[in-house]
């Protein structure tokens, strides 16, 4: 066991865990932030997407030791007092159906919007290529991002 310190959604936390434990499990079980989902567990589906020091990663593929001392943004960190522009737009445009892919979609969209202000549909499709929606609601998801405005 090792003491791991993370800054999760702006708050510093320490946990005692096996250094090889998946970041996903530490977030969900250790920190009880269950917004981040597990889909495939092998980096194919993007349900477990989080930002690690601002970079989009699959938290199922990150042993927690590699995140030690770093900043993590999960879906819970997107909204402060009210929902963020992306979340509002997902609600308005029907970007969420069953909802299991939605936290990952939101985080991947957030990563995209931070990198580039004006996103073409092609940018969005490429940026979300690692996030699968089993309801196949891709058109509404892309529309949600396009209509979410310039703010992140």
């Amino acid at each position: 066991m090792k003491k791991i310190t993370l800054t999760v959604n702006g708050k510093k936390v320490s946990v005692q865990v096996h250094p090889f434990a998946r970041l996903l499990d530490v977030i969900r079980e250790g920190l009880e932030l269950t917004g981040t989902k597990e889909g495939c567990g092998e980096g194919e589906c993007g349900a477990c997407s989080v930002l690690l020091d601002g970079e989009l990663v699959n938290s199922c593929l990150v042993p927690v030791l590699q995140a030690n001392g770093k900043a993590i943004l999960t879906v819970e960190g997107l909204s402060k007092k009210s929902l963020c522009p992306l979340q509002k737009s997902f609600m308005k445009c029907g970007g969420a159906q069953c909802g299991i892919c939605t936290p990952g979609m939101l985080i991947a969209s957030q990563a995209l919007k931070k990198k580039k202000k004006r996103l073409s549909p092609k940018d969005i499709r490429e940026g979300l290529a690692g996030n699968l929606c089993r309801c196949t609601g891709y058109s509404q998801i892309i529309e949600s991002i396009q209509k979410s405005g310039d703010r992140t």
Binding site: P19, L56, L65
Partner: protein, 283 residues
């Protein structure tokens, strides 16, 4: 079933020197984890000592000089695809990086891992082969440099010794006058492991091929140059007859097999078509 955590130890190396002594003592290097964590999830990662090398500064960064470009082993696909000079001098590396998994994988996967993991379906090797890359390996004894073409010995077998780490890959920027081609064929455009892939560069004058280099991946135990096709095409005109003959000759250079992703017959046929696409584009 996922691996059992107590079967593994995982430590961070604070310096390259410390990392090399861990390797000497039998620890296995762990970089971006995009291959090893998939094995762990499937319960196929060998139990034992793993070493987190992801924080080693000596293995990071892209260095540019007039005569050489050096990529640290920990250079990620994202860093490569976003590097303006590198993607201009070696377009195939940029194109291949854009097609490895999707962004989350590209942010974590490294060039050193792509090479050392030695998957026959790895996306970098064909490009490195046509660009005549060199690879630097480091141990407590020092650094040795190999032609990249000598690094892969067979299926999942490489020149890398237990006590060594991949330090860097270096390339000479001498392909400005070449036409560069990259094509990966998978089930979908992102998140797909290749059924076949081809890297090609060619220099032509007046519709005649002066120099040509072709390498395929996913169609043999390691990525490989296509010397039969290359030597046939050198000095030849680009016309239908020569292209057809080159396609036929390809079966001497690649020997694809049936596996979970595709069949040998499909792979050969599609590889021939991809070769044709390349040759039609260079005239």
């Amino acid at each position: 079933m996922r691996g059992y955590l107590p079967d593994y130890t995982f430590e961070s190396a604070n310096s390259l020197k410390e990392a090399l002594s861990f390797c000497e003592a039998g620890a296995k290097a762990f970089a971006g984890g995009t291959d090893l964590m998939v094995l762990f999830e499937a319960g196929l990662l060998a139990p034992g000592k793993y070493l987190d090398i992801s924080r080693l500064k000596e293995l990071k960064g892209i260095k540019n000089s007039k005569t050489q470009v050096t990529l640290g082993a920990l250079t990620t696909y994202s860093q490569i695809r976003n590097h303006l000079i590198l993607t201009k001098q070696f377009p195939i590396l940029g194109l291949a990086s854009r097609e490895v998994g999707a962004l989350a994988i590209q942010n974590r996967g490294t060039i050193g891992g792509n090479i050392a993991n030695a998957s026959p379906a790895a996306d970098f090797p064909p490009g490195l082969l046509v660009y005549d890359a060199k690879i630097q390996l480091i141990s407590t004894e020092g650094i040795r440099t190999l032609d990249y073409s000598r690094f892969h010995l067979g299926y999942k077998k490489t020149e890398l010794r237990q006590d060594e780490l991949v330090l860097s890959v270096s390339l000479k920027p001498e392909f400005q006058k070449y036409h560069h081609f990259w094509r990966k064929v998978g089930n979908r455009r992102a998140q797909a492991i290749s059924k076949t892939m081809m890297a090609g560069i060619a220099k032509t004058t007046k519709k005649t091929i002066q120099d040509i280099r072709i390498a395929f991946g996913s169609v043999g135990p390691t990525a490989a140059r296509c010397y039969h096709v290359e030597s046939f095409l050198k000095g030849k005109a680009i016309n239908t007859q020569n292209i057809q003959e080159a396609k036929q000759l390809l079966s001497k250079d690649i020997h694809p097999i049936d596996d979970i992703r595709s069949t040998g017959k499909y792979r050969l046929r599609v590889s021939q078509n991809v070769l044709e696409e390349f040759l039609c584009g260079i005239g």
